[in-house]
Symmetry: C2
Subunit: 764 residues, 2 copies
């Protein structure tokens, strides 16, 4: 845990504030000041440019291009896809007396940049002191409409402080944008048109041949001139400023990616432009505020500092957890089954926009308890890409469906075969996600209509990939990489075996139940999938005979031979050797008992109720000192288990940077984008860790353990139509149903019925 905060932003419970501009921190700020509305995302870059270290990333969810890798061996992908930047609609140029505004060249003061998490806006302002001695105050406001998600807004406010006169102004929409990592523009056949103060463009990607419409209306109190050059349309004018008065340039944009193309897309774009024209920015700002108000009412986590605690530090945690919640809700809030959650969301090119198994394994609980409809949509994404997973399984000489380790469109996009071919956890995580969703929501209709088919195909895959082991005579997975990516091609990885066992058993159970209770739907499914009922028996047989290597004390061996590995003292590794992937020879990380991230502990977390306290304790004590946390997903799982085991010091230590991973740039790579899926675990860390929520048993369970430095931790969860408000204080916790029916839950292992009256439980 050789990681330290790099504190830069001002602490505020509801805002992220940058006072003064530090070019060296430019890309980190761009990432932190990202906005998104699930449909699109934009880094917090300067509208007017002029910043040397900058990634002008504007991304539309689902827009990607394809690269051919060349065929090597069977089962190794020969093409990959990656998110590309899309129509850049914020480009602005401001000139005074022939001098162009570029902050790294210009003289300026009073710089501030503020992300307002209640308003859902990003604002930046400063006073530009021109070479000609004029002071011009400029404010940039931007936001992405959370309701009409193809709409985006920019408001530029200019105020001549000490002069009256002309300011040159232009505003562009452009498809002439390069993917930074690949140094290339992936847009072709760009059509541009203009009409008065509007511009309309349409572009097509090179290989994937996706089409996107981008248009903007620029409202200024001046005569505008529109120029089209190549892939760019520019609206320009001269603004006449009166001293002391504010003048505005408003830009309302539409970025439409609706699956249509050609003339139809163009017409859809024009219609969207018409609709946009009927709504003012003020209207949009009000609706945006209402949206976020509603969000915070149900989804906020409130933290208050204890008397003796450092109040600023706790406010920083408060700010941090809200930032996590805000970014997660921006990245994904449901409503589309075409999208998933990229490891970096829509905030950068790193990881190519790909979603990993993080979605089901890490992010899902956040949605299950704050936005169950979004959780369902995430699972429907997997249903809609089931065919891709079936094709992938075939490539691997297997049956059924193998879900990709990295994807935007459902196809495997990870060019590293060792991950793409050996990691079975995306498939078992989808099965777990279905189980978890159905278990919590009782949405049997979803299960029968979608879930059962996915489960069937995943079970087929897991049954075709399993081997009957050598000496132990049991089933197991050979040649796999478990969640711990520091052990590549191992046999009987306990996580994979255990998750495979649960997957097979659950699939069999679901299908058996369907056969008995919904025979028509079952018959249709059997026909569609050519299911042989012996398959189900086979799954049950495998599940019953799966090898889980556990000693009499309960210690589980991570994989065959793990206990025979040389020991690495992880505390002896010098700080400057992190991250290990950059500083160690690639093969060196695979040669000892050092673990990248929880593996055994991961399934003890996922199926928490299935293991005894003693099992959790012995495994935690064994694996914790061997885990180096090179994945940002790692510490939260450790923190949750430490809290459960009443190791509160460790729980708090591992929680350490969870809420402020990106705000304080702990991993020194926030410049590449936000760790969106890790951000989800900050929420999980608090709710599962300190409130002790467990959601895998018969009913919800709580075991609140408030850290000493907090006076209060309050949040609510949505559970089967109810909103349950939990308010933890030192020594006691109150539970109350805010809306909906009474419900039975376990608190500290005792049964309680929660209702609209407060149930107050003492700390145990």
């Amino acid at each position: 845990m050789a990681k330290a905060a790099d504190v830069y932003f001002a602490v505020d419970p509801w805002k992220i504030i940058e006072k003064g501009f530090n070019p060296a921190y430019s890309r980190v700020s761009e990432s932190v000041f990202s906005l998104a509305n699930e449909n699109m995302g934009v880094r917090g870059y300067f509208d007017e440019g002029g910043c040397q270290d900058s990634l002008r990333g504007f991304y539309v969810n689902g827009v990607y291009d394809v690269e051919h890798i060349g065929r090597s061996y069977k089962g190794i992908i020969d093409k990959s896809h990656f998110m590309i930047p899309t129509a850049e609609w914020l480009g602005t140029c401001i000139t005074v007396d022939g001098e162009k505004l570029e902050l790294q060249q210009s003289n300026f003061s009073d710089f501030s940049r503020t992300l307002d998490m209640r308003a859902g806006t990003l604002e930046r302002s400063f006073i530009w002191h021109t070479a000609s001695g004029k002071d011009l105050k400029i404010t940039f406001l931007r936001f992405l409409n959370m309701v009409n998600r193809e709409r985006a807004y920019q408001r530029i406010t200019l105020k001549a402080c000490n002069f009256a006169g002309k300011v040159g102004f232009s505003s562009a929409v452009s498809f002439d944008i390069a993917h930074e990592g690949r140094g290339k523009c992936f847009w072709q056949d760009v059509k541009c048109e203009a009409s008065k103060n509007s511009v309309m463009l349409k572009g097509r990607t090179l290989q994937s041949e996706q089409e996107v419409f981008a248009g903007a209306i620029v409202d200024v109190s001046a005569t505008v001139d529109v120029k089209i050059a190549g892939k760019t349309a520019v609206v320009s004018c001269t603004l006449n400023l009166v001293q002391g008065q504010e003048i505005r340039a408003d830009k309302r944009a539409v970025i439409l990616f609706d699956g249509t193309e050609g003339e139809l897309l163009w017409q859809n774009g024009l219609k969207a432009m018409d609709a946009l024209g009927n709504e003012t920015i003020e209207d949009a700002l009000r609706i945006q505020r209402e949206y976020w108000d509603a969000y915070w009412r149900t989804s906020d986590i409130q933290i208050d500092a204890a008397e003796e605690a450092d109040e600023d530090a706790v406010t920083a945690e408060q700010q941090g957890i809200r930032f996590c919640s805000f970014q997660l809700a921006q990245t994904y809030s449901g409503g589309s089954m075409r999208h998933n959650i990229g490891a970096k969301g829509l905030t950068g090119e790193a990881y190519n926009g790909h979603a990993f198994w993080d979605t089901e394994a890490c992010c899902l609980p956040f949605y299950l308890f704050t936005n169950p409809a979004a959780a369902k949509d995430l699972l429907l994404f997997r249903y809609n890409t089931l065919q891709n997973a079936i094709e992938r399984a075939k490539m691997l000489d297997c049956k059924g469906a193998c879900y990709p380790i990295a994807t935007l469109n459902g196809d495997e996009a990870c060019p590293l075969w060792q991950h793409a071919s050996l990691q079975l956890q995306p498939s078992t995580a989808v099965a777990y996600g279905i189980w978890h969703y159905v278990h919590l929501t009782k949405d049997q209709e979803f299960l029968r209509q979608y879930g059962a088919e996915i489960l069937l195909q995943i079970a087929r895959f897991m049954a075709s990939r399993v081997e009957l082991g050598g000496k132990n005579g049991k089933y197991g997975y050979f040649g796999v990489m478990g969640p711990d990516e520091f052990h590549m091609m191992v046999n009987n990885n306990a996580y994979t075996n255990y998750m495979g066992m649960r997957t097979l058993a659950y699939a069999a159970e679901v299908l058996e139940q369907m056969r008995c209770e919904f025979s028509d739907q079952y018959a249709k499914l059997v026909q569609k999938t050519a299911l042989d009922e012996d398959e189900i028996k086979d799954w049950m047989h495998i599940a019953r005979n799966m090898y889980i290597p556990q000693d009499p004390e309960g210690l589980i061996e991570q994989h065959d031979g793990y206990f025979d590995l040389p020991h690495t003292d992880i505390n002896a590794i010098p700080v400057n050797e992190f991250p290990l992937y950059e500083h160690w020879a690639y093969d060196r990380i695979y040669r000892s008992d050092m673990i990248k991230q929880p593996d055994v502990l991961m399934f003890l977390y996922l199926y928490n109720s299935s293991f005894t306290h003693q099992e959790k304790l012995i495994n935690y004590d064994f694996y914790q000192p061997r885990t180096i946390h090179e994945s940002s997903l790692s510490p939260a799982i450790h923190s949750i288990l430490a809290a459960e085991l009443d190791k509160m010091d460790e729980a708090i230590r591992f929680f350490g940077y969870a809420t402020r991973l990106d705000l304080d740039n702990y991993n020194r790579n926030t410049r590449e984008g936000l760790h969106i899926t890790s951000i989800a675990l900050a929420w999980v860390n608090i709710v599962y860790g300190f409130a002790g929520l467990r959601s895998d048993g018969e009913m919800l369970r709580f075991a609140p353990r408030l850290p000493d430095r907090w006076k209060r931790l309050q949040f609510s969860v949505i559970y089967q139509g109810r909103v349950i408000l939990i308010s933890m204080e030192p020594g006691k916790t109150s539970f109350r149903i805010e809306s909906g029916e009474a419900v039975e839950v376990m608190i500290y292992n005792q049964l309680y019925t929660l209702d609209k009256n407060e149930t107050m439980i003492d700390r145990q």
Copy 2:
């Protein structure tokens, strides 16, 4: 062993003969009809072209270019190098009445192509029936001078059978040649000049910036015209043919790659052209014949059929083993320490011309017993690339020298990290090669001057790569791939541990001996390598405590957990699934006890005297049925051990295609080039297998076991300046020193002194 002969060429004891031309077999023929003289190699393609399925491969040993792969992780190479085709000097165009000779279009008869292994020439002839009704007999002869190795020759003989008249003729030398796999010409800055009937060219490679001179003198009885166009120079003329008389066009070429460049290379080229001009083709042909006569006198293996045997089949074996010997001697015969032996020699682009650990592990015995000076040169190649191996070890976070798995110039060129980073056998094989060479030749001077330094650096590497194991408390190698490439990243691979142990112990022993007996040389070496004497103690400590997993019966576990792997019945794999790398998903081959090639059996073969009969028997019986022989290097090792264990049926079955692997295209990929390193094992298979030669004990040992279908097997070996002639007949074997001193050897475990008189030993 689901492989079958694809018989195409005529059987002859000294020649490879193709009667009639089969376009479908074109590339296989091109490979089989390859010529080389170590310095250069040429596939048997048609001088005049016109063959659709053809690879016009002419290669100069050591000429390569470089491609950048892009950096991924530390220790994974970011650039690779590969052999490229060099100046094509055989290009010929023949026209009659405006019709161009192209065999796949033209009408022809009496086609034959013959490789003469005593003459060292390739001859092709046919009668061309032109559309205008003329019959023209054409003979192409080519050879590469085995003595003056920059010289190459082509003789074209034309005979007008039924007409008199004009024939258009032109002959080219060109650098305008593409690497087929990469679809690109790697030659630039080509300079061309002409003088009378001579052309001179010089080209430079794109990235590696190597320069090659190519020139030719074309002797024809006609006035010639020389044209230079781009990277090509063409000599043309009109030949006046008299009916029934032969007319010749002789081309003598120089291809010079001597490490110089620019004007110096040009001058060297011109000098070489002058020298060439002083020697006729007849002279060169005579010298070539003398060279090969001398070669066969000492290196031939003669096989005679038993009375009851199929004589043709045995003649085919005789032809096969001579073909192997001929190709191996062509590819490498010593005299240059810049060259090694590519897996495909100089016969194709597959494997990029790279040499693997095959050189020391497979090829060296052939040279040790037929051409010890060449064996020394092969080891000096490793000495000359020691610095590259030191750099490579650093890349891998190790000390000392790590030899590459694939290379032309000493740098690691294998872009597959799993091979380049995990296979330690190139390094241990170099150490083994030094030991084997010194053990047999007693060349202590080589050992002190070169070998000791290599051994020191390899021992350093092996000591820095070793780990102190987990439970067993011994040393071992973790995260390695042994010779069996079907188990990728395993721990305590017995081969790697055993070879590491022997390497460390031998290095320590050599250095200790130097310290005591040659203190000056030792002191210099210590200074040069900054050797700390504690290092030597450390190596001995590791060697003494190396983990070799062997049970009380002597069975050795291939690697940790091997015995716990699922079993694959290799006989149940359908024939059409071979080769597995093409038909199975890549990761699937790693999930069972199926073995690609000998691993435990490999070190039982290499250090044969160190293991008991019982150890060999139990391990052979265990591993043999699990080995699928997907490497062409595999069956010979099995055959040798089977013969030793008196399993003669199996020994003969595994010997099966050894001598005719390429002649009968057993692996169905001879079209890509010859399996040069496998060819070496055909010789080893006979000498170690059926003569039972063992060279790792105190003295040479023999245990002749003649296969029933042979009446006689006769060959000689060179041993410490002696030539020992061994002649095996049913029931008895005679030994005789042909030249040199008497020597003691073991035959069937009894001591004999061989001298110039015949020693006759009965079969035991």
